[in-house]
């Protein structure tokens, strides 16, 4: 599925990702935790191909396909989805027309038959219900006037409709009340089918209570400094990141 090998990436002349390795197999859920500014969002933007996020070396492949060689929209059509930490508004463009255009574009890029309007509408309504947003959200402008929590649920709705192979969720749990957190977690869980994979970026154990990750990684200073099972998240929750510093240093020393 997703293979990242010795990835280096820079933003505005700053090296942020410095030799990151990660392999996610089909059906797996990986969580990435790490302090503010560690490079978690930078990693997701680099994988998605955002402008100004320059990969200087390393590789990233999705099912063997070189992601770094593709345009942003081609990576999306290849099955990479990013739920944004801060979703933006597009005034006047309804959620419905936006998602219809997105689904149509991706299906066309994959040589799949276009969905009929009625089939799309059916799926859109179901997805909307699944994340517990009223149906009129389909008619409202993309994120236009949505509350913070509604925006996050809207991202999950888009993920459900696009059925990506790998979903990167950048703090989809932040700013959510307890009920919304459950809804988002259930939304994600409903998509776990043994084939599709997830990379969940979070600061909090509480999301991982609902989404049981197969692996937990700690990202600090641009690389993965520790990996483990779900128990690692619990340790981090009680001890913070400070105790990891020694691992970090050992890792760096080891390289020299």
């Amino acid at each position: 599925m997703l293979k990242i090998n010795d990835l280096h990436a820079r933003v505005a002349q700053n090296d942020i990702i410095k030799g990151l390795n990660l392999e996610i197999n089909a059906g797996e859920v990986h969580a990435i935790m790490g302090p503010n500014g560690a490079g978690k969002s930078t990693l997701s933007y680099s994988l998605a191909g955002r402008d100004n996020y320059e990969v200087t070396s390393g590789t990233a492949t999705l099912d063997g396909k070189d992601l770094l060689d593709l345009e942003v929209e081609e990576r999306a059509a290849a099955g990479l989805f990013l739920a944004f930490q801060y979703p933006v508004e597009i005034a006047g463009v309804s959620n419905m027309e936006f998602m219809k255009a997105a689904v149509d574009a991706q299906r066309a890029a994959r040589d799949q038959e276009a969905l009929s309007s009625s089939e799309f509408l059916k799926r859109a309504k179901a997805a909307c219900k699944q994340v517990n947003l009223p149906l009129n959200f389909l008619k409202r402008g993309v994120n236009e006037g949505f509350s913070g929590g509604e925006k996050k649920r809207n991202e999950i709705m888009q993920m459900i409709l696009l059925e990506p192979k790998i979903s990167i969720l950048d703090e989809s749990d932040s700013g959510l009340d307890i009920d919304a957190l459950k809804i988002v977690a259930e939304g994600i869980n409903s998509q776990r089918d043994g084939e599709r994979s997830f990379l969940v970026i979070t600061h909090y154990q509480r999301l991982l209570d609902y989404i049981k990750p197969d692996f937990v990684h700690v990202l600090a200073e641009g690389k993965i400094v520790k990996s483990g099972g779900p128990e690692l998240a619990l340790e981090l929750e009680s001890q913070g990141y400070a105790w990891l510093e020694s691992y970090d240093r050992t890792a760096q020393d080891g390289e020299q």
Binding site: D51, E73, G92, V93, A101, A102, A105, G141, L162
Partner: protein, 478 residues
């Protein structure tokens, strides 16, 4: 993204072909004899010629306006030909079978089939090719309801009382430089009369096409909605792609009598010139309507073409409780310049006006909104609401807003809101991450920005306008 946007600002202008029809075209230049010849070609009555000559005398003394935020090479009025018509129109075709097939093909290529059976049900079309009206469809059917829809040159001969009563009453001969010129040399255009209490049974539309090189198009439209009637009218325009600038100076007058309503929509797609500002239409247009008691005029315009646009569709709200509306989308790109807006002149009591203007600038274009809201002494209880939004694509273009308010009545209320925004990198990235290519992404964002105006267009045309924007934006991202 800005770099991407700057790249490849070359767009395909789909309507840019030239039709191969043999034309009878006047030599360039203007003097009294030219006006006499135009009038003679049209077999006009004496009063019409006198009216033209009077306007010509006025025009000669008037200065060309220079207050607009546009910059263009001096127009040499002696280098323009003031009349051109396909030879096949010498004997006016009586029916479509007699129309030159090349002309029919021209309109088919533009997506406007003239054969009635092939047309969108419920739309009658008058097509004007250079200086003449080629054909007007559904004329007979409309007549059954008493609706008159015909070329204005026919109306001058067939309905002289109506024309004489209203022509020049909304836009006078000396209104402005370009209007005066139009009065002197106008060649064709549409005439509409809707009788009392009649709802026009179909949409009326006029399609203007400039084909011949170095000719100006000076069309004149007069729409009269008698008491309690309703009509929806649409105009569209295209021209071939040429390196020379061409002048289009039209006048449109709307007379909206008591309790009547006129909805006037424009989709303007004249050739805009290339990225460096070579070629394109100079579009200097005077459009104005007068509303009597309880009458309503609604202007909706989607302006994507022309090298230079100078255009202010306006409403004189003379009658009490009358309503004026102006909904505008103006898109400029490449080196295009638009200075457009409206004037709402509130004279009657409790008159209401709404102005929604959406300006989109890309490339190194300049887009200005210029609007006047005038509250006269007698406009007690009048209200205006103006909303003026600008959207910038890239960082080399300009958006400007020039709102003018004159209030002579303390009870009148004027509200103005303005915003400027950019197509942001965040929005582009969101769209692309969801699978849209950059062009589709921009056109989607721009369409969303224009939504409030598009919803005012008749259904079929709203779709057209959306597509037109999409084509116009092609190549505006790298």
């Amino acid at each position: 993204m800005t770099d991407q946007l700057d790249e490849a600002l070359s767009r395909e202008y789909e309507a840019g072909f030239v039709s191969d029809v043999e034309s009878r075209t006047f030599d360039p230049g203007i003097d009294e004899s030219v006006i006499r010849r135009i009038s003679a070609m049209k077999e006009e009555p004496e009063w019409m010629l006198d009216w033209r000559l009077k306007a010509f005398e006025m025009w000669k003394t008037m200065p060309e306006p220079d207050w607009a935020h546009i910059d263009y090479a001096d127009i040499d009025f002696q280098a323009i030909s003031y009349y051109s018509a396909p030879k096949s129109m010498d004997d006016r075709p009586k029916s479509l079978d007699e129309v030159d097939p090349e002309l029919l093909r021209t309109y088919e290529k533009l997506g406007i089939p003239l054969v009635e059976q092939q047309q969108l049900a419920g739309i009658a079309v008058d097509v004007v090719f250079d200086s003449v009206s080629v054909v007007t469809t559904f004329r007979e059917k409309l007549k059954e309801k008493g609706v008159i829809f015909c070329p204005i040159s026919d109306a001058i001969k067939e309905y002289p009382e109506l024309v004489q009563k209203y022509l020049g009453t909304v836009v006078s001969q000396k209104d402005n430089f370009f209007a005066a010129l139009n009065c002197a040399v106008f060649t064709d255009g549409s005439f509409v009369y809707i009788p009392k209490g009649t709802r026009c049974p179909m949409e009326l539309s006029t399609y203007f096409r400039i084909n011949e090189l170095n000719t100006g198009q000076f069309e004149r439209t007069l729409i009269i909605a008698d008491e309690g009637s309703y009509v929806s009218y649409l105009e569209g325009c295209t021209a071939p792609q040429r390196d020379e600038n061409q002048l289009h100076a039209a006048v449109v007058e709307l007379v909206c009598l008591d309790n009547a309503e006129i909805k006037y929509s424009t989709v303007q797609n004249w050739y805009p010139g290339d990225e460096n500002g070579v070629g394109g239409i100079y579009n200097f247009v005077t459009k104005r309507g007068i509303c009597h008691d309880n009458a309503k005029i609604s202007w909706t315009q989607v302006e994507t073409g022309s090298a230079v646009t100078w255009k202010y569709p306006s409403c004189v709200l003379k009658g009490d409780n009358s309503v004026g509306e102006f909904y505008s989308v103006a898109l400029t790109r490449g080196a295009q310049q638009a200075d457009t807006g409206t004037k709402m002149i509130h004279l009657g009591k409790n008159t209401k006006s709404t102005i929604i203007s959406k300006g989109i600038s890309a490339g190194k274009s300049n887009n200005s909104y210029r609007g006047l809201v005038h509250m006269g002494k007698g406009s007690s209880g009048a209200r205006n609401f103006t909303q003026c939004d600008s959207l910038l694509i890239g960082d080399k273009c300009g958006a400007h807003t020039f709102p003018y308010v004159e209030s002579r009545n303390p009870t009148a209320i004027v509200e103005h809101e303005a915003t400027t925004s950019k197509v942001s990198d965040d929005q582009m990235f969101l769209c692309q991450q969801r699978g849209l290519d950059p062009e589709k992404a921009v056109s989607m964002i721009v369409n969303g920005f224009c939504k409030e105006v598009f919803k005012e267009l008749p259904m079929e045309f709203a779709v057209e306008a959306g597509k037109l924007l999409e084509i116009s934006l092609e190549g505006s991202v790298g």
